[in-house]
Structures are given as structure tokens and as C-alpha cells.
Amino acid sequence: MMDHAQFDSIAALDAIGAATADESNALAAHLPSCPDCRRARDEYGEATLMLARDLDPVMPPPRVRDRIFAAIDGGEPANVIDARDRFNSSRWWMAAAVVFLALWGWRELSVRVTREKINTVEAEVRRLAGQNQLLATRNEKLSAEMASLASRDTRTIALTGQQVSPSASAKVFLEPRQRRAVVFFYNLPANAADKSYQLWILRGDQPKPQSAGVFDVTKSGAASISIENLPLATEIKGLAVTLEPKGGVEQPTNTNFFVAGNT
């Protein structure tokens, strides 16, 4: 089950149009029941505006304006309210209006009750659709992980616990041809709510480590992470895990490796 921090991260990607379909569906299913995440989604939406507002404005040619106004000439927005129809001095019309309003009131009340019922059912359908999507995503992820584990080319690499966590360990199943890997961690201490573990790829061809993703560890001490689009196996010198601020960072903020190992 995803937590708020995960939905917040998805909302960030969704606002800029970079969330996957699965992530967007999961977020959409979660939003109706979570005002905090709705606010986060709206704030990220506003933040993306900054990207457009960074551009220097450019005045379009006058012919564009002419074309637009010619295109809408004579057409009216769908909900235009015509003030001429609002009032009529006829008494008969007034009486009819009173009757109409009474009937309309009844109808409006029943429509509102029905709409609330529909909204409740729709929210439940969205929630179930989101759960279904999550299960499908999890199934897909597990299949990919199984493929990584079962491939003939798969290499196994052991990462060992370091000074800060000597009993920890990890096993990496690296599938070089598909450039993907599954890493299983054992006996890692549970991370605080404001922290995340981050896995780093130490590359032979680059001086700085490269993030391979973030993950959380609960009391069980176990966790796993899938890595896609890895560098070529020959470029990977080693792997290491640090504890970083929630959501991860661009570069490690410390050298307290929890597990590490050479490939």
C-alpha cells in the first residue's frame, strides 16, 4: 500500500506529465479520499506554471487574433445567460414561474441526493480500479523480477554490511543483456520517516556515483528494489547504499555505507 510520501512523489511527476499510466491511475484513485494529496497535486500544478512563465513573451502576429475572433464570431459560450429572458412583467408568467420553481426545487433535491449516491459509488469504483491497477502493476513488476532471476545470463553479486550496519547484506541479480537488476536487502535497520535508503551505482567511467533509486526498510529489515536501464555491466564498478533525506538526493550526502560491494 502506498503512503502519502509516495503519492506526493507521483503527484510531482503527474503535474509535469511524466507519471506512468499506472502511477496516474493510482493517484487518481487516491485523490478523492485525501485532501492533503489533492492540495499537493494542485501546488505541483502551479509549480509547473513557472516553466512556462520563464519564457520571454512573444507577440503573435495580428492575423492570429483576427482568425480567432472570426472563428468565434456569432458563436456563444455554451452557458451564456441571456438577460432579456430573465424577467417578464406578465403576472401569468410570474405564477408559472412560481410553480416551475417549486417543481424545480423538488427535482433539484432529488437530483442532488441521486448525484451524491452516484459520487459515492464512483469514488468506490475509482478506489477499486486504483487497487486493481496497483495489483496489475505489482504483478508486472514481479514478472519482470522473476525474469531477471531466472535468466541464464543473470549474474549474482553479494553486497556486504559495512561499519554502520555490519549484519546487513544484499544480493544483486544482474541481467546484463536487459540492463536490469533486482536487489534484495536483508537486516538493514528500519529508516526514520524523514529518511530513505538510496542505492548508488559506482561507475568506472564516471567520477560521481549515480542514483539507482530509493527504498524504505521496515522493522523486518528486508527490502527489494528493481533497477531498469542500467549502465553497461562493464561500466559498473560497484554498488553501495546510504541513508539520505526522504525521496533521495542527487549525490550522496555522506559516506556511511550500509552495504556495499564490487561487481
Binding site: G17, A18, T48, D54, I68, N229
Partner: protein, 192 residues
């Protein structure tokens, strides 16, 4: 000056009046926001004819769908930008499918999000001040985060496509974009 910045960038909302068929409000809406939207569409499409067509579609849609605007969710310009960007990216994708767009790699990915350095009459002092504030917020993002966000926003690329384009692991790109967006959101909160 940043502290005084209005994040909605809007003196007042014109769309409710447009929804009631107020042509004068629509004209004001066009005059106020068309330079911003046109610059955005030029950045996305790199082609003036396409940008003008999509700009026209955007404003015609704004006229017919103004009643859909919800002021609680954001400002006039936010709504218009969202329509323009979505249509611009659709046009870009359909051009890619047609194979017209061959020189993807040549697009500018560095430093600034904007590549058009062309001042116009609409570029008044207030807008300049807002833009300077926005620019300073974006300048605080590391280059790698700016590039990843620009590829998503202006080219409509998915996480995997960005990872592929930049030759980086998907996890790296995801983290980079999330951190970039979080920083922009924090800056936006600081403006309030």
C-alpha cells in the same frame, strides 16, 4: 521583490465573464495572455505556423469551454497554459508520428528553459519582474534537474524516454524530476 510576487500572476479572473459571452473580457484575455502562450507553443513546436494554429485552437476552446474553468483550482493563465501545452504536445507527437520532426537531438537542453530572447510590447515592467522571480527560482535547480523537467514539460517525454535520451537509469531520472518539482513547489510556497 520576490516576496511580493503574486503566484497566480493575475490581477483578476476574466474567464467567468467570458463564460457569460462577454466579448470585451475575451479580448482582454487574449491581449493579456496570448504572448505567454505563443512563446510556450513556439518553445514546444519550434515552428511558427504550428504555434499559431495551436494558439488559435487554444483560444477557441477557451471561448467555448470557459464554463469548465474552476477558479479554486488555479488562475486564468494556469488554465490556458494547461490547454495550450496539452494541445502543443499532441501536435508535436502527431508530427513525430508523421516523421516530420527529424532533428530532436538538436534541441536546446541547457541552462535556461527559454530560448526565445525577443522582447515585445506586451513585455511590461510587471511581467518582467514576475519573470525575473521565476527565473531566479529555476536558476536554483541543478542543471540535470532542469534538463529532465524541460524534456518532460516542453517535449512531453515520459520518464523512460527521458532516461533513454539522456542515457541514465530510470531511477536516476525519476529521483531527479521529483526533487526538481519539490524544489519548485517549495519556492512557490516561499513566494506566498
Amino acid at each position: 521583490m520576490i516576496a511580493a510576487m503574486d503566484t497566480s500572476f493575475e490581477p483578476s479572473s476574466l474567464l467567468p465573464a467570458v463564460a457569460h459571452g462577454d466579448m470585451a473580457a475575451f479580448e482582454q484575455l487574449y491581449d493579456r495572455h496570448s504572448p505567454t502562450l505563443y512563446a510556450l507553443l513556439l518553445r514546444i513546436l519550434s515552428n511558427a505556423d504550428d504555434a499559431q494554429e495551436v494558439l488559435q485552437e487554444t483560444f477557441v476552446k477557451a471561448w467555448t469551454n470557459a464554463k469548465m474553468f474552476d477558479a479554486v483550482r488555479g488562475s486564468d493563465v494556469a488554465w490556458l497554459i494547461s490547454i495550450a501545452r496539452s494541445r502543443g504536445i499532441d501536435r508535436l507527437r502527431s508530427r513525430k508520428i508523421r516523421g516530420d520532426r527529424e532533428d530532436e537531438a538538436g534541441r536546446e537542453l541547457s541552462g535556461s528553459f527559454g530560448f526565445i530572447d525577443k522582447r515585445t510590447g506586451a513585455d511590461d515592467a510587471i511581467q518582467s519582474e514576475e519573470r525575473n522571480a521565476v527565473r531566479s527560482a529555476l536558476a536554483e535547480l541543478p542543471e540535470a534537474q532542469r534538463v529532465a523537467l524541460a524534456l518532460a514539460y516542453f517535449e512531453g517525454l515520459s520518464q523512460s524516454e527521458i532516461a533513454e535520451r539522456l542515457g541514465e537509469p530510470l531511477g536516476t531520472i525519476k529521483t531527479r524530476m521529483q526533487l526538481g518539482m519539490k524544489k519548485l513547489r517549495e519556492r512557490l510556497k516561499a513566494f506566498r
